[in-house]
Amino acid sequence: MATCRSRGVERGGAPHVLAVDDSSVDRAVISGILRSSQFRVTAVDSGKRALELLGSEPNVSMIITDYWMPEMTGYELLKKVKESSRLKEIPVVIMSSENVSTRINRCLEEGAEDFLLKPVQPSDVSRLCSRVLR
């Protein structure tokens, strides 16, 4: 895990977080929160685009994804990341506006680092920052 926690942090640079959300408003809000916590952020609108980016960008410290997206859900993206020998060490955090325990448990069992209820608060990100990327 030590490797995973330092993953994506360039020497003297900010950790790089990939934010995935099909809602433009939510993408802007989560990007703003992450930037205010000194992360470098790339935001994309689908799981497909996230996988494309992960294919070309080796320095991603964490993925934070919405659960409910068309075509590929956050859960499906999580599964693809955890099935990949190259990507599986990247912590994946799932966000959802609905507090559905079966959904939360399913994601955590699949290896999600955390499950955040939307709207995500700066305090949620601070907590993640100290736990996932320390």
């Binding site: 809602s23 939510d26 809000v29 703003g32 205010s36 506006s97 939307k118 709207p119 608060q121």
Partner: protein, 147 residues
């Protein structure tokens, strides 16, 4: 008008939006994220919300005009509007979206149409106030010379 008078007008407008229940604490969280590194953060998010909300409301009207309403599809659009409303702190619109989703689950076209009218009124009321807010912010910025 002097910057101080415009600022006081802006504060009164935003306070009134809170007092009327149009906004909740989430909007304050957005305001706190605006700083010198992200000076236009609130206006960017609010503009995205206004554009997105208008698109969703048009789509909802279209969906509910169809002879066979696909309530799951309608529900998915309302879910989107509820999510973006929650993210900007648009409390009233968000709460009406919660009622709207109940009518989707009941497969009630009449309920959905009535709630669409309500959400449309609330959304455009909020949008007008947001536009007035952004205009005042621009006027305030124009009072200060750029370095």
């Amino acid at each position: 008008m002097a910057a101080a008078a415009l600022t006081s007008q802006l504060n009164a407008l935003v306070n009134n939006m809170f007092a009327m229940g149009l906004l909740d604490d989430q909007f304050q969280q957005l305001q706190m994220l605006q700083d010198s590194t992200a000076p236009d953060f609130v206006s960017e998010v609010v503009t995205l919300f206004c554009d997105d909300g208008e698109r969703i409301i048009c789509e909802l009207s279209r969906q509910l005009e169809k002879p066979n309403v696909d309530f799951d599809r309608v529900d998915s659009y309302v879910h989107q509007l509820k999510g973006s409303s929650a993210s900007v702190g648009a409390q009233k619109v968000k709460n009406t979206c919660i009622q709207f989703r109940e009518f989707c689950q009941q497969r009630s076209r009449d309920g959905c149409l009535k709630t669409l009218d309500l959400v449309r009124t609330e959304f455009y009321d909020l949008r007008n106030k947001f536009q007035a807010m952004l205009q005042l912010e621009q006027q305030i910025q124009a009072c200060y010379p750029k370095h």
